[in-house]
Point group: C2
Chain length 187, copies 2
């Protein structure tokens, strides 16, 4: 039982809460420490700076956001279905997933002077990842025609908005997968 490691995880958990609540700049290291019930000094024993806490959370978020729908999916339609299913299930069963989802969205709107964070964020640019899949789906006639970027924004914007609502009001009911699919699939 590595006590230090446990403490560090606890601090990250608390920091995530505060960052979501007050944003990067509104979060003070003192408040993170206070909410975790430790001294300000201890925080800087585990992290070199406020930015590095943020940085570690972004890293964890990037990992967590990789939605590993099985690569062996047969069609873009099935792949999309599986992805939405995974996200909705995680949102329902795992509160910290939703928190991380919202956090990662906030990160994209927050200007922090850290080139490495910028790079990390590019690696999870959903549009970049999905547009090829959508185009392939359109070619096959599974997805509707139209601007593939706009389709991507519509569907993932919806998922994002739903996740935000779920975090703000945890008992928010989630939509059926098909409702979201219907935005994009042909029928």
């Amino acid at each position: 039982m590595d006590k230090g490691d446990e403490r560090k995880k606890q601090l990250l958990r608390v920091a995530l809460d505060v960052f979501i609540e007050k944003g990067y700049y509104g979060t003070s290291t003192r408040e993170i420490a206070r909410r975790a019930g430790v001294s300000s000094g201890l925080l800087f024993h585990y992290f070199s700076s406020k930015e590095s806490i943020y940085h570690e959370l972004v890293k964890i978020g990037v990992e967590e956001m990789r939605i590993d729908a099985e690569i062996a999916m047969k069609t873009p339609r099935e792949y999309l279905f599986q992805t939405i299913k995974n996200v909705l299930e995680q949102l329902e069963s795992n509160p910290s997933f939703g928190k991380m989802f919202v956090f990662m969205d906030n990160v994209q709107y927050t200007t922090v002077n850290d080139k490495e964070i910028e790079l990390l964020l590019k690696s999870i640019d959903i549009c970049r990842q999905w547009i090829p899949v959508i185009i392939e789906g359109q070619r096959r006639g599974e997805f509707r025609t139209g601007d593939s970027h706009a389709l991507c924004v519509a569907i993932f914007g919806a998922i994002q908005g739903i996740a935000q609502e779920k975090v703000r009001i945890p008992n928010t009911p989630l939509p059926k997968i098909d409702w979201l699919m219907d935005m994009i699939v042909t029928r």
Copy 2:
């Protein structure tokens, strides 16, 4: 030509930008003043406090968010269509609308100790406004069956997500109204 009034509007415009960029707590009154090219003292000549600037923006936002689709709409379906149409058109033609949209969303996630702001926000609680319309639409068979709250979250979450993307990357293409309608209407 009221010079003071113009200055105040300018300060509000600048403040909106900074609030979107850095959040409430991350925004300093000095930065607002600097970006507006005036002294810190002048800011407090026009506003009694940082919170009051925020407060005024929320008030303006609440006004702007009232989407006045004609009350004379015949059906929930038409009403929803008109609402989505208005939002998408505004997003396309009026950048400050999108900014306000994103700002008002941030406001909902930011805890500021101001009871009046809380009240203002309740007055634009979209779910509260829309659920009766959705239920009526379901009764008429225009909208799909299912949890009306979930339907509301899905469709307005999508709109929200799209607006955010549009503000972040202004040339983002917007979806067709029908794509969004298809999440909710029967066919």
